[in-house]
């Protein structure tokens, strides 16, 4: 399995004078799990935003399974099979946990059938809630969840849509150590089921633990790509990302 699922060519995203993404090339193969790291302002989140058209690319091309995404509407991109989460978890706080996942699950239903009431809980919804450990809280109002729980709820919402490509924006930000572990296992599990995953992450411990292939971004460009070990040995990476070439452990990055 080595067909390219996502091909980004010469992508530019310019805000006024600031080049958030500046001539980026990136290829994701089907069933791959890719971590994107880089210092603050490297353009990692902007990359996800550009793929999902939350920000409009200034120029360049984003091919998903051979189809151009640039210029398509947000919801059309989701329907093409790309799901995403947000850095600050955004769930519908007035709805229950179950309702949040349910409306995510029904996005492919014909509009007419949405006019009926939900009867019971579909298997996919139950499974998604189970896999993020929110099954017991399903009737709670989403607004009453903790920060970490909201992040999981968001993951459940995107999981239940069974995207071909899943974009996770800092999935463990603000999580406890235990929650991080669980999220890492979840990502691994999702990938095993055949979903291609792109994770933007800040937390180097997390990256070291769960990443295989890593892309390092710097100033809107890809600096280098490789395994975690390769990237950690790369001098330029250590220079731009860690700021302190002598510190090989890279713990400075976690607090960056």
């Amino acid at each position: 399995m080595s067909a390219a699922l996502l091909e980004i060519r010469d992508l530019h995203v310019v805000f006024d004078a600031f080049r958030a993404v500046d001539g980026l090339h990136l290829t994701l193969l089907e069933h791959e799990v890719r971590f994107v790291i880089g210092p603050n302002g490297a353009g990692k989140t902007t990359l996800i935003d550009a793929i999902t058209n939350l920000v409009r690319p200034t120029s360049g091309s984003i091919l998903f399974a051979g189809e151009e995404l640039v210029g398509r509407k947000e919801h059309a991109i989701v329907r093409a099979g790309i799901g995403r989460t947000f850095q600050t978890p955004s769930v519908f706080e007035q709805l229950s946990v179950l309702e949040n996942v349910d409306i995510a699950a029904t996005f492919r239903l014909p509009f007419r059938s949405l006019l009926r009431r939900r009867k019971g809980i579909s298997d996919e919804v139950a499974h998604a809630l189970d896999s993020v450990g929110l099954a017991e809280l399903r009737d709670a109002r989403a607004g009453s969840l903790s920060h970490g729980q909201k992040q999981w709820l968001e993951v459940a919402m995107v999981l239940v849509q069974q995207p071909r490509l899943l974009l996770l924006d800092e999935p463990v930000a603000g999580m406890t150590e235990k929650e991080r572990l669980r999220t890492g296992e979840l990502v691994t599990q999702i990938a095993k089921q055949g979903t291609t995953v792109l994770v933007v992450e800040h937390d180097m411990d997390f990256v070291r633990r769960f990443a295989h292939k890593v892309t390092v971004m710097h100033e809107g460009k890809v600096l280098t790509e490789g395994t975690v070990a390769e990237v950690q040995q790369d001098d330029t990476v250590r220079e731009v990302y860690l700021g302190r070439p002598r510190d090989a452990r890279g713990s400075a990055a976690a607090s960056a």
Binding site: T52, L54, K73, E74, H75, V78, R79, G83, R84, F86, T88, P89, S90, F92, E93, Q94, L95, E99, D102, I103, A104, T106, F107, R108, F111, L114, L115, R116, R117, R118, G143, M157, Q161
Partner: protein
């Protein structure tokens, strides 16, 4: 009706007591009110219940969908004029012109009026015309992602523009006077108390059906989605839904309800004129809903009746007092009762049950970008 059967079946299980409460209100409207109220009061109530139908639509579009519809007078008026034109024509008889046209020097029936001779055209048009216009306007507005205060102002401008068109075409629309002097409505004599009673029952039945259907919609999956769009429209796009479509459905239905209310209003009250559907009446419609409780459909409808009942009662005692009181009420609601009477009752129930007071409703945070204040717009 399928919806009623389903509601009754599920009423015993989930919405504890809804079926009972609904039956009580229906009984009060269908049995108690006709028995207790004088003919005059009963036809006033019929008028207020027409307003309640508009309020249900506003509850759907604004309370559930977050679209502050400040121009429902436009759709109410369209429905009213459709019915009014038909009544005028059927009274005038074949080949004759409505009275006001003769006075305005119009000699030939304008082409626009011709189809309204047929009840088969006029009655559906009273609902479908407002819905069609709302669909065209809404699609343009929502696609451009116009929302919040901008949407509110735009919707209000539409009502204002409609008034200008009506006033400016004296011969076609009756101008400032509107359409009035109605004698009969489908064989009923408008001035006859017994026939007014029949009209009252018609309004009650329509109101109850509209309420049940709208409630069914609100608790459907679409209803959940509408709330999601209200609280974070941009987030909904990333679930693969087009918010334009979601909002459009609620907006168009609300317009249809306002049109239906207008069509009933004309035979009940005997007039439709620009003064009934301009900016001020349109704002008043929103006040009813704000006061009743915009997120609680039944209270939105009740708000229309309560406010108008109070308006009539107080105006009878203090002719100029109502306007001040209405302004005061609105300020109080905005400051202290963001969810209206429904919210106040909910809080009281919470206090009685010893739960901590919830205070203001939590407002969902915009995920994608900072959004305008969501309390009202």
């Amino acid at each position: 009706m399928n919806g009623v059967a389903r509601l009754l079946a599920s009423g015993a299980l989930k919405p504890s007591g809804f079926a009972v409460r609904f039956a009580l209100v229906a009984a009060a409207l269908l049995l108690l009110a006709p028995a207790l109220l004088s003919d005059f009061r009963l036809s006033l109530l019929a008028k207020f219940l027409c307003f309640a139908i508009i309020a249900i639509g506003i509850g759907l579009a604004w309370g559930q969908g977050g679209m502050l519809v400040l121009g429902q007078g436009l759709f109410f008026g369209l429905g009213g004029y459709c019915m009014g034109m038909h009544m005028k024509l059927s009274e005038a008889g074949a080949g004759q012109l409505p009275d006001f046209m003769t006075w305005s020097g119009v000699e030939k029936l304008p082409l626009l009026w011709e189809p309204f001779r047929s009840a088969w055209f006029a009655v559906p048009a009273a609902m479908l015309l407002p819905m069609a216009i709302a669909a065209v306007l809404g699609a343009a507005i929502f696609r451009q992602r116009v929302r919040g205060a901008y949407f509110a102002i735009l919707s209000q401008a539409l009502a204002a523009a409609f008034v200008i068109v009506l006033v400016g075409n004296q011969g076609l629309t009756g101008g400032t006077n509107g359409l009035t002097n109605f004698q009969s409505f489908f064989g009923l004599t408008v001035s006859d108390p017994a026939d007014q009673r029949i009209l009252y029952f018609l309004v009650v039945v329509v109101l109850l059906v509209v309420f049940l259907a709208t409630r069914e919609l609100v608790i459907s999956r679409y209803g959940r989605l509408l709330i999601a769009v209200r609280d974070d429209e941009d987030r909904v796009r990333f679930l693969g839904y087009d918010p334009t479509r979601v909002k459009l459905v609620a907006y168009v239905l609300a317009a249809g309800m306002a049109g239906l209310a207008g069509a009933l209003f004309v035979p009940v009250v005997g007039i439709i004129s620009p003064a009934l559907l301009g900016i001020v009446p349109s704002i008043e419609m929103v006040i009813w809903v704000a006061l009743g409780g915009r997120t609680a459909l039944a209270w939105a409808a009740a708000g229309a009746v309560i406010v108008n009942w109070a308006k009539t009662g107080i105006s009878e005692q203090f002719p100029s007092g109502w306007l001040y009181l209405q302004g005061l009420l609105f300020v109080v609601v905005i400051l202290f009762l963001p969810k209206g009477i429904a919210g106040a009752l909910e809080r009281l129930r919470g206090l009685a049950a010893g739960r901590p007071v919830g205070g203001r409703p939590r407002v969902a945070r915009g995920a994608v970008q900072a959004s305008p204040p969501k309390e009202l717009v």
